[in-house]
């Protein structure tokens, strides 16, 4: 009798355990609607986007009314909308390399911050396809070039020990500049605008950055062409991409699919032109 009762209790317990397992597994199945990396963002209700602390028009900046806007801001907002969450910008990073660090340590889900795709950074994070391709661009002080008799093509004279070229510190352009002009002195600047201003004022022979920034800088300094000659290195590409943690494979694929769509329908081009024309 006791044996029979124990058997019944064990069966009931088993049934109960099965029921509990069934219920719980059903609940888990019902809650896990997406892959873990996407689910993490949706469950949190916000996507954390790493972005440099300093404004970089036309990618991210504050307008005269104090509104935060720019190509990267719009893209981040659109990505959040498509994921059904809100966007939060993590702007702790003081350099572009620190942005990569924020993604690597999972303090941010994605870096959307005018970030150049370099082999060094790709050791830590996964880069999406480039959403815009920039070209390495030089502005050369006209008077200094004329005094050194460089003619119309100063490029070949810049790789010299007596030459100083300014660019943004801890950016990929430090590496690019060292590759292009190994003999010249590359001066890292905290502020790229100041680096360009110094080329205009003749404090350095040339400043080095990308064509989009240069275009924006010319828009905000319309007299600059009188003092500097702009040279776009057509064969020196600088792809700008988003970066995700190396484990977030599905988020990476999802972002690529999103980027292909916005590049194809011309959204990226429209946005960049809009922000360039509005003076960055």
């Amino acid at each position: 009798m006791i044996k029979y009762t124990l058997k019944r209790v064990r069966r009931s317990l088993l049934l109960f355990a099965f029921f509990v397992f069934f219920i719980f597994s059903f609940k888990t199945y019902a809650q896990t609607r997406y892959s873990p990396d996407i689910e993490r963002i949706i469950e949190r209700g916000k996507i954390i986007v790493a972005m440099l602390d300093e404004d970089n028009p036309p990618f991210f900046m504050h307008d005269a009314q104090g509104n935060f806007r720019g190509l990267d801001v719009d893209l981040a907002g659109d990505i959040a909308r498509n994921l059904g969450v809100r966007v939060e910008f993590n702007r702790k990073a003081k350099t572009f390399d620190e942005i990569v660090e924020l993604v690597f340590t999972k303090e941010a889900d994605v870096a959307i911050s005018y970030l150049s795709k370099t082999l060094e950074r790709a050791k830590k994070v996964i880069f999406t396809d480039a959403y815009i391709t920039l070209y390495q661009t030089l502005v050369v002080n006209r008077l200094l070039a004329a005094q050194r008799k460089w003619g119309n093509n100063p490029m070949k004279f810049l790789n010299d020990k007596t030459i100083t070229i300014s660019t943004l510190k801890e950016s990929s352009y430090i590496t690019f500049a060292k590759e292009l002009f190994p003999l010249a002195t590359i001066i890292p600047y905290d502020n790229i605008e100041l680096a360009f201003d110094d080329a205009k004022n003749g404090k350095v022979q040339a400043a080095f950055f990308d064509n989009i920034f240069t275009k924006g800088w010319h828009n905000s300094h319309p007299d600059a062409a009188l003092y500097v000659q702009t040279i776009i290195c057509g064969d020196k590409e600088d792809p700008i991409a988003m970066a995700v943690h190396w484990e977030d494979i599905h988020l990476y694929e999802w972002l690529n699919q999103y980027l292909r769509a916005v590049i194809k329908d011309g959204t990226v081009d429209k946005l960049i032109n809009k922000y360039l024309e509005s003076g960055g």
């Binding site: 319309p222 007299d223 009188l226 000659q229």
Partner: protein
């Protein structure tokens, strides 16, 4: 000549009067300013008129230079005459360069440009460089290029391509050679060339009947295309250019008046047609036939002198251009806050003369790349200067052409007198 022919000629003579020419210019300006659509439609007619004027230039240049030099050789006064002519040209060019430099130093066209002027110039350079980014490989012809373009490998190619410097070089040598052919056939050839010259001049005199209409078309199309933004940005420079050109023209007028001893305004009145053609077409070459005609008919200058000095002078004695280059050098130096010093002054003085002479052989903006000859040694940006001068060219070109032509008319009068001495 029967009565009806005479009446017909009298009827059409009003077309040659200064009032008709003046009316044509004013009408052209009004159309260019107020009726841009109509002005645009008139562009082809202006081009036809310009082509009509230029049609006679090369044949007149060839026949004039060959016949005048051959006659000069046969009369045997060559050496002293030519050295005086070279002296007249050299002194004239030096004066022109000095006037340009003085205007620049005193007027300071490039110092303290205001913000809006600098913005206009910056935008202009930016836009130009963007348009020419792929073909920005222009090389300055330099002095050697000048001499290279002077010697034609094939004289017929030079004729068909209108390479005036090469044509002139060939005609000078051919004229001298013809002068030394002391056979009856040589004399007859010279007479044939002179007859051809007369025929071309006759043809040109007929073209002058459509001058008022032609000028109306040219002015309408030119005025409608002038960009006034750049004019505002460099208003001081443009003003100094006009002032220097007027000073030089008063100087030329004084020289002619001093030699001719007539009324002070007589030279201006006698050469009005030439000056108007030069102003309306902005082409010294197009004004050659008219200059020869007016100097011979109105100022009674010897045909041999005019036929040699004018074609030669238009090619190697462009005093207006020299003044302009000197002034432009100062403008660029002042824009970039570069002090020239005495050495720089000498480079600008001589460089402007050489560059001015070199620029005449190369048509249009290409000629401006020779500015490297002055700005290079001074360490000033050549590209900026070329872009600014190209932009300002439509406003300045006409007055510079008038100065060039008037300078050579004055040189002709001086050469005539010195030949008589």
């Amino acid at each position: 000549m029967n009565k009806s022919e005479k009446t017909g000629k009298q009827k059409s003579n009003w077309l040659l009067s200064p009032w008709a020419i003046f009316a044509g210019i004013i009408l052209g300006c009004v159309i260019g300013l107020k009726f841009k659509g109509l002005a645009h439609n008139l562009i082809p007619f202006g081009e036809i008129f310009l082509a009509l004027l230029q049609m006679c230039v090369i044949p007149i240049l060839i026949t004039a230079v060959i016949s005048s030099l051959a006659r000069l050789i046969t009369t045997g006064v060559t050496g002293r005459y030519l050295s005086r002519l070279v002296m007249i040209f050299a002194l004239g060019l030096l004066v022109a360069s000095l006037v340009g430099l003085s205007a620049g130093f005193l007027g300071k066209p490039g110092s303290g440009l205001n913000e809006s002027s600098r913005v206009t110039l910056g935008k202009l350079i930016s836009q130009y460089e963007m348009e020419t980014i792929s073909k920005d490989d222009s090389v300055s012809p330099g002095l050697l290029g000048f001499f290279k373009s002077m010697v034609p490998a094939n004289v017929f190619t030079a004729f068909s391509h209108g390479q005036t410097l090469a044509i002139l070089f060939f005609c000078i040598l051919f004229g001298i050679a013809l002068g030394f052919v002391r056979t009856p056939a040589g004399g007859e050839t010279l007479s044939v060339i002179e007859a051809l010259y007369d025929a071309f001049q006759k043809l040109f005199s007929w073209i002058m009947y459509v001058l008022p209409f032609g000028l109306c078309f040219l002015f309408a199309s030119q005025i409608s295309q002038v960009g006034f933004t750049i004019f505002k940005a460099l208003i001081k420079f443009v003003g100094l250019c006009y002032l220097s050109a007027i000073i030089l023209m008063i100087f030329y007028n004084c020289l002619i008046w001093w030699r001719r001893k007539g009324s002070f305004l007589e030279p201006l009145f006698a050469l009005r047609e030439t000056l108007v053609v030069a102003f309306g077409t902005s082409s010294s070459f197009a004004a050659i036939p008219s200059a020869l005609r007016c100097l011979q008919n109105n100022l009674k200058i010897n045909r041999g002198t005019t036929n040699l000095v004018i074609p030669l002078g238009i090619n190697i004695n462009p005093q207006g251009t020299v003044m302009y280059f000197a002034l432009s050098t100062i403008l660029i130096a002042q824009i970039y806050n570069v002090s020239l010093g005495s050495q720089g002054f000498m480079i600008a003085l001589i460089g402007s003369i050489l560059a001015g002479m070199g620029a005449t052989g190369v048509p249009g903006a290409g000629g401006l790349s020779i500015l490297a000859l002055i700005l290079g040694p001074l360490g000033l940006p050549v590209q900026t200067a070329i872009i600014l001068l190209i932009a300002i060219d439509p406003i300045i070109d006409a007055i510079l052409t008038v100065t060039n032509v008037y300078a050579n008319c004055a040189a002709t009068v001086l050469a005539e007198e010195s030949q008589a001495l």
